[in-house]
Amino acid sequence: MDLGPYTSFIATSYLAAALVVVLLIAWIAIDYRTQKARLRALEESGIVRRSGRAATDIQ
């Protein structure tokens, strides 16, 4: 695939899009782990939901 004189513009566009998407996925994944860990820590300290169900139970 020959992109000619515009290779740098095209490659930068696709790389930037890939980077932003990867950062979004990583941010959401890390946030999920963080919230689950905080909920687990709170439950281990003896705090329970009114329903009695585990706060980390999302099934």
């Binding site: 515009y6 095209i10 566009s13 930037a16 919230q35 705090i47 009114r50 999302i58």
Partner: protein, 258 residues
């Protein structure tokens, strides 16, 4: 499960656990197909190979407006129906919409330099999209500035609905004013002006990015619900420590939000 059942965050979380792997799979397949078709697309007789930038730029530009539209509907849900998931949906969508808008601006700029001879021009389309990006950032700042999520949700909902005025301005800016940005070539009266060799990769990429948004949005909503559970339990813990908790006994479990 009826639609009204989804108003229950616990049921929504159960649904996301089942849906997310499938949404992610469809997203990956569509984006892979879109990238493959984009690579095979021929050069444009005027733009040359830079037409490939359009396969990323256009979907992100569409989604930048679509996400604000989703947030506007969610804001109505917050203000009118006080739907328990409405402000969760609006808050979770903002960073994703900001990212798509940033990519639309960046890729448009990278296309503009070789085609227009400039990275940036203060024309109506580019400026209104920049304003949209700044509004996304302002909304995210507002969510962080107000500690109580319910109060933040109402303020953010009003700002979102006011900001929705910008959507028709963006869409019709190329018709209302004399802009450097070209008029619509896909969503227009009389059908798309693009050849199929460009239209098909563009549409596949657009559907792929749309699925990416849905996947990320559902996952971010799940995180936001968990964050609110954390806040709720922390408040119960704080009340217990300050002695204002319901009589639950010093050694018994502290009961938090459902």
């Amino acid at each position: 499960m009826s639609l009204i059942d989804l108003a229950n965050p616990t049921r929504f979380l159960a649904l996301t656990a089942r849906l997310l792997p499938w949404l992610a799979l469809v997203t990956v397949v569509l984006l892979a197909a879109g990238l493959y078709l984009s690579a095979l697309a021929p050069d444009d007789y005027q733009q040359g190979a830079t037409v490939k930038i359009m396969f990323i730029h256009v979907p992100n530009a569409w989604l930048s407006m679509f996400v604000w539209g989703v947030m506007s509907l969610a804001s109505l849900g917050t203000l009118v129906w006080r739907h328990p998931l409405a402000d969760v949906a609006a808050k979770a969508a903002a960073p994703i919409g900001a990212s798509f808008t940033f990519l639309a601006l960046l890729t448009g700029s990278l296309w503009g330099r070789p085609m227009w001879g400039t990275y940036w021009e203060w024309d109506a389309r580019l400026t209104s999209v920049l304003i949209l990006f700044l509004m996304y950032l302002g909304l995210m700042a507002l969510w962080r500035a107000v500690e109580d999520p319910t109060r933040a949700a109402r303020a953010a909902a009003v700002l979102t609905l006011v900001g929705a005025i910008n959507l028709p301005i963006i869409k019709f800016s190329v018709d209302w004013w004399n802009t450097l940005h070209q008029p619509a070539s896909v969503m227009r009266m009389g059908g798309p002006a693009l050849d199929k060799s460009f239209l098909i990769p563009l549409l596949v990429m657009a559907i792929g990015f749309s699925f990416l948004f849905v996947t990320l949005h559902v996952a971010a909503m799940r995180n936001e619900i968990l964050r609110r559970r954390v806040r709720s339990l922390q408040m119960m813990q704080a009340r217990a420590y300050t002695g204002s908790a319901p009589a639950s006994g010093a050694t018994g479990p502290i009961v938090g939000a459902a």
